[in-house]
Symmetry: C2
Subunit: 204 residues, 2 copies
Amino acid sequence: MARTGKTTTDREGDTRARLVVAARDLFLEGGAASFSLREVARRVGLSAAGVYRHFDGKEALVAAACMQGFTVFSSYLVRALDAPDPLARLLATGDQYRRFALGNPLDYRFIFMSAAEDIHKGDGPATGPPSSTFRFLVDRVRECMDARVLVKADAEKVALVIWAHVHGLVSLRLSGHLSALGDDEAFAAFYGGSVEGLLRGLGR
Amino acid sequence: MARTGKTTTDREGDTRARLVVAARDLFLEGGAASFSLREVARRVGLSAAGVYRHFDGKEALVAAACMQGFTVFSSYLVRALDAPDPLARLLATGDQYRRFALGNPLDYRFIFMSAAEDIHKGDGPATGPPSSTFRFLVDRVRECMDARVLVKADAEKVALVIWAHVHGLVSLRLSGHLSALGDDEAFAAFYGGSVEGLLRGLGR
DNA sequence: TGCGTAGAGTGAACACTGTTCACATGGCGC
DNA sequence: GCGCCATGTGAACAGTGTTCACTCTACGCA
């Protein structure tokens, strides 16, 4: 059985890590459709069978490659904390979300647009990386409620509504259905007005 | 070159149609991942090479199979016209959209969650089946504006906002990220409240 | 009536893919 | 020094999409 946890020796961690970066490179080059375990092995100078010493199969390999997307995502989100007040931080959170999605479309697709069982399989409904970043949004919402800029309500449910709204805009954009809006800047403007309308309805 | 337009003889239309239904069956059984051109050919009693007399390749075959999803989608949407007044028709449109997505997840994924170039490739931004049904939503929005239940504004942009909101809720649900909400009925309730909040912000 | 042609369908082949198997090898602990 | 175990290998298997040269059959036309 392949080792899925932490590394034991330097050599093992070495080739495993090299497999992950090669897999990530290949994934970012052509997406999931043209992803090939054998090609990854080729780039690392390993036989195809050798990959199975480190990963349970193709799916596990691409999953490991995409896990790095979560780190990138977090690095975007955390910048929202620089904003001066609760409402600005909430809006900045959405802005960073949009920036991440448009700047890293393949990562975004994998994290938010594929069947979730593939990622955090078997766990409860509130586990896995997406939900850990979701808590970040809940905190921003609660902050706004405490500051009376949003009406008091179930912060988690309000956060879900905001998430769904932003995700809807962003994922339609990534799928090309909002291409009529123009370039990314025009989309950003549309996005801003849309979120504003939603927050208005949420009782500000 | 394979014939992509209308049928010429009965026999040709026959096997082409049989290929499409077999492809659709297979697609609905296992999704795009386990879809195989050879398996479709097998079910129809055709050699794999024979498929290329009717379709340009695997992608064209699954695209043709999924085109039927648009018909199903339209049959859902049109029921919204039974509602008595403009606002009810707008809300019913969203409801039917949600019902279609949850009842036909694979069709929904193909139509709204895959890269749009794969579907209406080469055409302008405002063509293809998704936009023809989008006009249905625009009409419902305009209807509401005429009846003063929504503030007058660019109906297309307001429709985009509503579409994105509903799509966000539905696609997060399909990806499993909203499973914490409970069963489909609980999700429907959440969905209703969410859309209500959005429309409130849109100036009702 | 016979002929030619165009389209439908075929099997074989090619170049891939993911996965498994028996086997080599090299470094580490006892 | 010996044995063990993780690491790695090549070969093989079953399957894939796609192409190619080849049949066969039905139809239009002289």
